[in-house]
C-alpha cells in the first residue's frame, strides 16, 4: 500500500515535469537562443520569397550537377526523422521500456524533421502551386496524370504517408495526456484548448482496451513504413543509371544512415533539454548509453556500406564505376570525402568505450560529428557522381550560392522554433506511459 502511494506521488512528479513550463522559467541563455532561431526562421521566409520571385536559378545547381543542396538537405532531414519512428514504434514492438521517457520528444522531432524535409522537393519545383498536377493524382482540366514509373512519384507517396501516419500516431499518444492537462490547468483558455484536443477522453476501461490495440497496430504499421520511406528515397538514386548511384546496396545503407543520423539528432536535442529542464531522472545515463549503442551499431552498417561501394567500384570492372570512386577519393572533392570518413567512421569509434557513451559532453561532441558527417555523405553521393559525368567536355564544379545556405540554415530555424513550441505547449514526456511504467515497477 505504501509503495502504491509512492507510485501516485511519483505520477504527480512525472506530471509536473511533463508540463515543463510550470517548473522552470526560461533563462537568459534560452532567450538568446529564442531570438536566434526566430532570426533563422525569418531568413527562411525571406529566402523562399526571393526564390519564388526569381526562380530556382538563384541556387548553385548547374548543368552536370542538376541536383544540388535541395536533395542533399531533403535526404538529410528525412533521415533525421527516422529515429523518432524507430524509438516510438520499433522499440515498442520489442518491449524496450526505456523508450517511454524519450518517445514523445523523438516523435515530435520526426514530424518537424519531415516538415523541414518537405520544403526542399516543394521548393525545387520553383512554383510549387503549379506543380500539383504532376505531384498528386487528381482529375485536372488538362486531363493529365502523374508518372507512376518514376521514383520521384513514389517519394511523394512515401513522404506524405510518413508525415500523415506520424502525425496521427503522435496525436493518438497525446490524447490521454491532453485530458490530464485539461483537468489540471487552472487557466480557462488552457482548459478549453486542452479540452478540445483531448476529445473528451475520460479514461474508460473500454476506451483503453481499444486505445492500446490501436497504438499497437500503429506501431506495427509504422515499422515497415519507416523502412520503406528511406528505401524509396534511395530509389531516387538507385533507379538512375549514374555511376555510384545505381547499386542494390542503397536501400539498406540509406536506412542505416537514417537511423544513425536520427539518433545523433535525438541526442543533440535531449542532452541540452534534460539539462535545461532538469530531466536527469527521466532521461538518465541508461537512455543515453542505449541510444549511443544503437548509433554505434547503425554507424558500423554505414561504414560497411562505404566499404562495399569501394569494393563494387573495383569488382564490377566498370570503367565508369571505377572512375567515379577514383574521382571521389582523389578528385577535387577528396577533402570532403575524407572529412566524411573522419566524421562518420573514425570519431564514432569512441563510442565503443563506455565513458564516451555516458559522458554528456563527449557524447554531444561525437553527435555533432555525425550530424555533419551524414550531411557530407549525401553531398558526396550527389555531387561527386554528377560533376564529372560521362562526357568530359561538360564537367564542372558545384558551388553553392548564398541562397542555398540561407534556405538550409533557415530550415534549422524552422525545426528549432517548432521544437521549442512543442516543449512549451505539450507534455514532452508521455504521462500515461510513465504512470503505467511506475505502477508496473511498484508491483515488482
Amino acid at each position: 500500500m505504501a509503495s502504491q502511494g509512492l507510485a501516485s506521488q511519483r505520477c504527480f512528479i512525472a506530471f509536473q515535469f511533463g508540463l515543463g513550463l510550470e517548473i522552470s522559467k526560461p533563462s537568459m541563455n534560452l532567450l538568446r537562443s529564442h531570438s536566434l532561431k526566430h532570426l533563422l526562421l525569418a531568413c527562411l521566409g525571406g529566402s523562399i520569397g526571393y526564390l519564388f520571385w526569381q526562380g530556382v536559378g538563384i541556387w548553385g545547381n548547374n548543368n552536370p550537377v542538376g541536383w544540388g543542396w535541395a536533395i542533399i538537405n531533403f535526404v538529410w532531414w528525412i533521415g533525421i526523422g527516422h529515429a523518432g519512428t524507430l524509438i516510438s514504434a520499433v522499440l515498442l514492438l520489442f518491449r524496450q521500456k526505456w523508450r517511454t521517457s524519450i518517445n514523445r520528444a523523438a516523435e515530435a522531432m520526426t514530424i518537424f524533421a519531415v516538415l523541414c524535409a518537405m520544403q526542399f522537393p516543394l521548393l525545387h519545383t520553383g512554383r510549387p502551386w503549379l506543380a500539383c498536377y504532376w505531384l498528386l493524382p487528381y482529375p485536372n482540366s488538362m486531363d493529365m496524370w502523374p508518372q507512376f514509373r518514376s521514383p520521384l512519384m513514389w517519394d511523394v507517396f512515401a513522404v506524405s504517408t510518413y508525415l500523415t501516419v506520424s502525425l496521427v500516431f503522435w496525436f493518438v499518444g497525446l490524447v490521454p495526456d491532453f485530458a490530464s492537462m485539461r483537468d489540471r490547468t487552472k487557466n480557462r483558455i488552457g482548459q478549453v484548448i486542452y479540452g478540445m484536443l483531448s476529445l473528451g477522453w475520460r479514461g474508460s476501461a473500454i476506451h483503453w482496451e481499444r486505445y492500446e490495440m490501436a497504438s499497437l497496430l500503429l506501431a506495427g504499421l509504422s515499422t515497415p513504413l519507416v523502412l520503406s520511406v528511406h528505401s524509396v528515397v534511395s530509389f531516387d538514386f538507385a533507379v538512375a543509371l549514374i555511376p555510384g548511384w545505381h547499386t542494390t546496396i542503397f536501400p539498406p545503407y540509406f536506412v542505416a544512415g537514417a537511423i544513425y543520423a536520427g539518433f545523433a539528432m535525438v541526442l543533440t536535442l535531449m542532452i541540452p533539454m534534460r539539462m535545461i529542464y532538469g530531466l536527469e531522472d527521466f532521461i538518465n545515463e541508461r537512455h543515453l548509453n542505449n541510444m549511443a549503442k544503437v548509433m554505434l551499431a547503425s554507424g558500423m552498417i554505414v561504414a560497411y556500406g562505404y566499404f562495399m561501394e569501394q569494393l563494387i567500384a573495383w569488382y564490377s570492372a566498370s570503367t565508369y564505376e571505377g572512375f567515379m570512386m577514383q574521382n571521389r577519393m582523389h578528385g577535387p572533392y577528396s577533402a570532403y570525402y575524407f572529412a566524411l570518413i573522419l566524421c562518420n567512421i573514425v570519431v564514432p569509434q569512441l563510442l565503443w568505450i563506455r565513458y564516451f557513451r555516458t559522458n554528456m559532453f563527449w557524447l554531444f561532441f561525437v553527435c555533432q560529428f555525425i550530424n555533419v558527417g551524414m550531411w557530407l555523405e549525401r553531398f558526396i553521393i550527389v555531387v561527386t557522381s554528377l560533376h564529372r559525368d560521362f562526357m568530359p567536355s561538360s564537367w564542372d564544379m558545384f558551388h553553392p550560392t548564398i541562397w542555398d545556405i540561407t534556405i538550409y540554415v533557415g530550415t534549422i530555424g524552422l525545426f528549432t522554433v517548432l521544437f521549442f513550441l512543442f516543449i512549451r505547449g505539450l507534455p514532452m514526456i508521455s504521462l500515461h506511459e510513465i504512470r503505467a511504467l511506475l505502477v508496473s515497477k511498484d508491483h515488482k
Binding site: R202, S204, M213
Partner: protein, 181 residues
C-alpha cells in the same frame, strides 16, 4: 418525485486509490451480476476490460480490411492511370509495369490501415464527446491523474440506489458519489 430523481441519475461511482483495488472491485461487481459498469483510470489497467465483461476489440479486423482496400486502391490507381486513362510509352517499358506500381501500393496500404486504426478507435469509443455525465463528479478530475473510478449505471437492471450504494461501500472505496445526468 422519487421517479424524477432517478431519471436524472446517471449512476453511482466509487473512487479507489490504486489500480489493484479498482480491478478487484470491478471483478466483484461483475460477479454480483451488474453489467452496465465501467472503470476509469489515468493509465491502462491490464485485465480491467475482461473484468467488466468487455469482449475483445474487433479493431484488428477493421484495420486488416482497410489495409487490403488501400492496397487495391493503390495498385488500381497506378493501373488505371498508366494503362487505361493515360497510356504512355516510357523507355519501352510495358504499360502494365507491375513492379513499378508496388511502392505506391505499399504506401497506400499502410496509409489506409493506419488511418482506420486511429479513426476506427476514436469512432468506436464515441469520441470526440465533449459532454459526459461522469465529469459532473467533482473528484473525477483525478481520473486523469492518480485516482481510479468504477461506475455502475442507473439503467442496469439490478440497479437500486440504496442497495447498489451499500454494495459499492462494501468494496472499501475511498468515496462513493452519485453521478448526475
Amino acid at each position: 418525485m422519487q421517479h424524477e430523481e432517478e431519471s436524472t441519475l446517471f449512476g453511482l461511482m466509487a473512487e479507489f486509490e490504486t489500480p489493484d483495488d479498482l480491478l478487484a472491485a470491478a471483478k466483484a461487481t461483475f460477479a454480483a451480476g451488474y453489467r452496465k459498469i465501467d472503470g476509469y483510470s489515468p493509465l491502462p489497467v491490464h485485465g480491467l476490460g475482461d473484468a467488466i465483461g468487455f469482449p475483445r476489440t474487433k479493431l484488428p479486423w477493421l484495420v486488416f480490411c482497410f489495409g487490403i482496400l488501400g492496397g487495391i486502391c493503390g495498385y488500381g490507381l497506378c493501373y488505371w492511370v498508366s494503362v487505361i486513362d493515360y497510356p504512355m510509352n516510357i523507355a519501352g517499358k510495358p504499360l502494365h509495369s507491375g513492379p513499378m506500381f508496388i511502392p505506391v501500393t505499399f504506401e497506400l496500404t499502410i496509409l489506409f490501415a493506419a488511418l482506420s486504426s486511429a479513426f476506427g478507435m476514436f469512432i468506436a469509443n464515441g469520441l470526440p464527446q465533449p459532454y459526459h455525465p461522469v465529469f459532473n463528479v467533482e473528484s473525477f478530475a483525478r481520473a486523469s491523474q492518480d485516482r481510479f473510478f468504477l461506475s455502475i449505471e442507473a439503467d442496469d437492471p439490478q440497479f437500486d440506489l440504496d442497495k447498489t450504494r451499500n454494495f459499492l461501500n462494501g468494496l472499501n472505496p475511498h468515496e462513493v458519489a452519485e453521478v448526475e445526468n
